[in-house]
Symmetry: C2
Subunit: 358 residues, 2 copies
Amino acid sequence: MGVRIPYEAVLNTTKSAFLNLGLSEEQADMCAKIHTESSLEGIESHGLNRVPRFAEYVQKGWVDIHAQLELVGAKGAVENYDGHLGIGVLNATKCMDRAIELAKIHGIGCVALKNATHWMRGGSYAWQAARAGFIGISWTNTESCMPMWGSKQPSVGNNPFCIAIPRKSGPIVLDMAMSQYAYGKLGVYRLAGKQLPFPGGFDSEGNLTSDPGAIEESGRILPTGYWKGSGMAIALDLAAAAMANERTGATLDQENRGSCTGCCQIFIAYDPYLFGSEEEIQEKFDQRVAAADATAPEREGGHVTCPGERTAATRLNNLKNGIVVDEQIWAQIQQLAEGNLNITDISSVCVLDQMSQE
Amino acid sequence: MGVRIPYEAVLNTTKSAFLNLGLSEEQADMCAKIHTESSLEGIESHGLNRVPRFAEYVQKGWVDIHAQLELVGAKGAVENYDGHLGIGVLNATKCMDRAIELAKIHGIGCVALKNATHWMRGGSYAWQAARAGFIGISWTNTESCMPMWGSKQPSVGNNPFCIAIPRKSGPIVLDMAMSQYAYGKLGVYRLAGKQLPFPGGFDSEGNLTSDPGAIEESGRILPTGYWKGSGMAIALDLAAAAMANERTGATLDQENRGSCTGCCQIFIAYDPYLFGSEEEIQEKFDQRVAAADATAPEREGGHVTCPGERTAATRLNNLKNGIVVDEQIWAQIQQLAEGNLNITDISSVCVLDQMSQE
């Protein structure tokens, strides 16, 4: 069950929760803002739903709230940072900021972060670049949760991959993971007694199926686009590990700490106005998006939109009517905000998206 | 029907064909090599199959064999070139070479090419980077051939996207287009009287179908991963147009010249040994790939492989037994090599992959 809570109340309560976990004023401010904004924009799964889980990570020692981001290598337009398992969303935000600074100097900027922790909503940092007027590209590697094409045993991560395009009338943002459906989504459908709209994996007999429970049982979620998502997952993993000079997904699997602990994250920013005026480029973007959106919808009364376009409406609606928060999650955040850190049923709430990035 | 022709004979005949089209000795050498190598590695659709079509492009004026690649902008790690509609594969090769040079200086290098023409096999340039010891990322925008998710009318291109990882034991290379199946593939299945292994589009009534003929009729090929490939296609299009400061897919559609004429292509190279030794990074790659390949295959006797891994075996087999060339295509290349440029049935051979990038 979701309840609607006003933006300010969510932000303040969440900040108190983070303060009680030992975060500094500044850290708690930023963390509360990032988690709240994700839910505000409709991405509850990686917004407020993750606050109790973050508390669990801190208590388990998967996240070190005192760790400092450290520059460990640099060449030209590229910098390599060690996150020392610090707070994922804060380090990721700083890294995209730095990539933007590098892009201002070199046209393109790339920051490769090692010893990272879960960055929650993958799209946050691409959105961040777009809001600063830059094209943003980002991805991470993760532990394995998905069989490669042709295999029945998980061996690649559901690595998120994001591309954002700055647009005055609203950024266009791709924020995709490598599986067709997240494990969390399977759970939602199973609990509702529904079949998936399209096949989402294989059952234990190796048949393609839309039955969410059968896929949860087999552990064989489907790569998006079958062989394509499978290939993309391994390529992104290898690239991230080389660029940041640390763990591949295979090493994360061996260490088995869970939830992306120690992963590599890549942040690329590009100045879209290097060779054309902002006015011309923005006009180009608007024409392109308008042409796509003007095509005939599949169903009568439908509206074709590009990814990210509906976000502004979602924000407005949630600002006006309150942010949707799962009732149980909200109770847990309130408990954290009141100083009760001994929440025992986090796993039951979060287990559904434990293995997934989307 | 495919025939097998020895590598040297293919290379020499194809070079003669290019010379007869007016290419210089050096141009013909490089073009023959690139088309031959694509077929050698099993990508016939964008290798030798494209030689008669290239002849047609030259005769139609879609490709200007005398055009010179021109540097039109530069900042730090980024350079912008104007291809002036010159020979696609040659300009793309030069651009990736230049991206590699920029990466040697700046850690990362990016070349954005405008007024490009068809680069044939998308993976060629990522492979080129990997063979030079660099991570290569490349993509292009194209005219629209695929409906966006939620639409029944084509509005995005089947833009190829490639990532290559240099590995001494053989590069890992993702070379994917944005549709689940290329139009060419639909034709192959239809002619063989077969259904597609997985749904590949919608029929005219809007039902998801595996019937290739029904999809050809409706023009509604399926984005890979449904909404995901759709979103990725528009994001790559916008990024390419901004980075290269030229046409989006919508402008290509308006101009309606066909076959990517005037498109934007992006070439990114990254030095994987910036922060780690070559030995360590290569060991990391090998461990990662070995872990993936060692997982249990879906079917007894199957082998799990990462993308690009089978290419070495395909090369060896074709070097030993001859390159597979479609009989009709080979006859046309021979005609071109003999100086007969008035081939009239190119369209009938190539129509199946006309609208597709894969």
